[in-house]
């Protein structure tokens, strides 16, 4: 990365279209300058579909799907994010300095999403391999049907945490209002402590990993059980 700062003022020109068009048009990533986005004012789809190791700073609050489908880029929102922050992220890092609305990190396949504040409901729903670290608390139904990847919650969790979980793992420090169907607390192994330490370090958060509990799938929903009479 080199070159002088490239600035996009979303209150002018074509706003998000100009920004995303420019990002998608960068053939060589070697010379991409750092990108600064000003006056986001809650606009949707900021820096969606980046496909190169950009450094993007969004100065203010972003709307829906900021950093969606991100590949390789490092995107920092210096404010809050609307619904679906970093949804379907493939790699790279999206950092929200404030709070994130519903469905943050939904279906993320890879990369790291850091939410320094709280995340709302359904954080990490259908997570497919990405990592999410939430500095605050998460709302209900977080990690619903999460298949792979890790969700770290430094605060509390709402209702039905990890409902119908597959192979994703949740580390939670605070209170859990309730676990979802088939989710259970498990022993923290040395490998979990190592993994969690690494995630907290990458997120820039200083919590003692031994203060966290692990939630994983009991795998009782993996096979249909007619005798259960739909009661899980």
């Amino acid at each position: 990365m080199s070159g002088t700062l490239k600035e996009f003022d979303l209150s002018r020109d074509e706003g998000v279209r100009t920004l995303n068009g420019w990002l998608h048009g960068q053939a060589s990533t070697e010379a991409a300058p750092p990108v600064r986005v000003v006056n986001p004012d809650g606009a949707h789809n900021i820096a969606v579909g980046a496909d190169a190791p950009f450094n993007i700073d969004v100065i203010g609050h972003a709307g829906y799907y900021v950093g969606g489908m991100n590949k390789l880029a490092r995107i920092t929102v210096h404010g809050n994010a609307g619904t679906g922050a970093a949804e379907n992220m493939m790699s790279g890092e999206v950092r929200i300095k404030g709070f994130a609305s519903n469905g943050a990190g939904a279906s993320a396949h890879g990369g790291l999403l850091v939410i320094e504040g709280d995340a709302s409901l359904r954080c990490g729903i259908s997570l497919k391999g990405g990592d999410i670290v939430v500095g605050g608390s998460v709302g209900s139904f977080s990690a619903f049907m999460a298949q792979a990847g890790r969700l770290v919650i430094c605060g509390d969790a709402g209702e039905a945490l990890g409902d119908s979980l597959y192979e994703a793992v949740i580390y939670v420090k605070g209170k859990v209002a309730s676990l979802g169907a088939d989710a259970r607390f498990e022993e923290m192994t040395p490998a979990d402590i190592d993994a969690l330490s690494g995630l907290l370090q990458r997120a820039g958060l200083t919590h003692d990993p031994r203060a966290f509990r692990k939630v994983a799938s009991a795998r009782s929903l993996y096979h249909w059980n007619a005798d259960a009479n739909q009661e899980y």
Binding site: A43, H61, G63, S120, G139, S140
Partner: protein
């Protein structure tokens, strides 16, 4: 989808700016609700006479014939403030008498709201166009509730736009959809509660207002709503004294609140709040699911 907006000014010296601050909020929600829009304004002063907001659903905006008919049927003091197909009638007659007269003798005129502070405008079209048409930017008052509609549950007509009202000085806007509005309606109609449209939000509005008329406070009424109203909702309710906000337990429908020393602003999304003075220093938060928020001017 749909967009909801609300603004409560904490200091009377801001009242003259209510419309000017609110119009960009409404316009900001155009993508969420491009087919209709509406606004209920609660004026700073309480009118001693009854105020009735009217809309000519059919025909021209000739209010002269309407007023002659009203004067003949209900002789007395009536004053009309016209604004195209909208008008606010100030009258010493009883609300029921006005309603009966309209039903019997003024087909095509719809009674949108009644009360001593509320004035209501709604129409089909883009929010910015409607705001321009009725001069929303010039409105003053202590608080207001607005809506931009993307219709799902009933047709796109002015009377099915939000806000809906029931009783006096009570209105509600809704982002979401209810699955049991007819059940609610079948419960209320035998109690003598009249419905104007087949819209799901009207059922929620009439249900909550009925509970309050039966003695529930706003919180008790909404609590009862959690068990009686099935579906998705963010409701923003305007009453004589303030605003109430509630999201259903699944909270699929968004809302964000910005509060400063000068105002409380509510919207579906931040992009409708970005222009507000002092918003960068405001306390910003998303209302929790199944939690009732209520604000009044101190």
């Amino acid at each position: 989808m749909c967009g909801i907006v609300g603004l409560l000014l904490k200091k009377p010296e801001w009242d003259a700016r209510l419309g000017e601050l609110l119009v960009p909020m409404l316009r900001g929600m155009t993508e969420r609700g491009p087919d209709s829009a509406g606004l209920a304004v609660f004026t700073s002063a309480e009118s001693p006479a009854l105020k009735v907001s009217l809309f000519q659903l059919e025909g021209t905006s000739d209010w002269g014939a309407f007023m002659r008919g009203l004067q003949a049927a209900l002789p007395g003091e009536h004053a009309l403030h016209e604004s195209g197909r909208h008008a606010v009638l100030t009258t010493r007659a009883a609300a029921d008498a006005i309603r009966r007269h309209i039903t019997a003798a003024a087909p095509g005129v719809v009674l949108l709201s009644q009360g001593h502070r509320i004035e209501l405008y709604k129409d089909i079209g883009a929010p910015g166009v409607i705001a321009e048409r009725y001069g929303f930017a010039g409105f003053s008052g202590s608080h207001a509730v607005g809506h931009t509609r993307m219709a799902t549950e009933s047709a796109v007509t002015p009377d099915r736009a939000h806000p809906f009202t029931a009783g006096e000085d009570f209105c509600l806007v809704h982002n979401g959809s209810l699955s049991n509005p007819y059940l609610v309606r079948r419960k209320l109609e035998p109690l003598g509660i009249h419905f104007d449209t087949d819209n799901d939000t009207e059922a929620a509005c009439r249900f909550l207002e009925w509970r309050m008329r039966e003695g529930d406070g706003i919180e008790a009424a909404i609590e009862r709503g959690f068990t009686e109203l099935d579906g998705f909702f963010t409701f923003l309710i305007g009453t004589k004294n303030g605003l109430s906000l509630v999201r259903d337990p699944f909270a699929c429908k968004p809302a964000i609140v910005a509060e400063t020393d000068d105002y409380v602003a509510v919207s579906s999304e931040f992009r409708s709040l970005a222009h507000l003075p002092g918003v960068s220093g405001a306390k910003l938060f998303e209302p929790q699911p199944r939690t009732i928020y209520h604000w009044e001017r101190a």
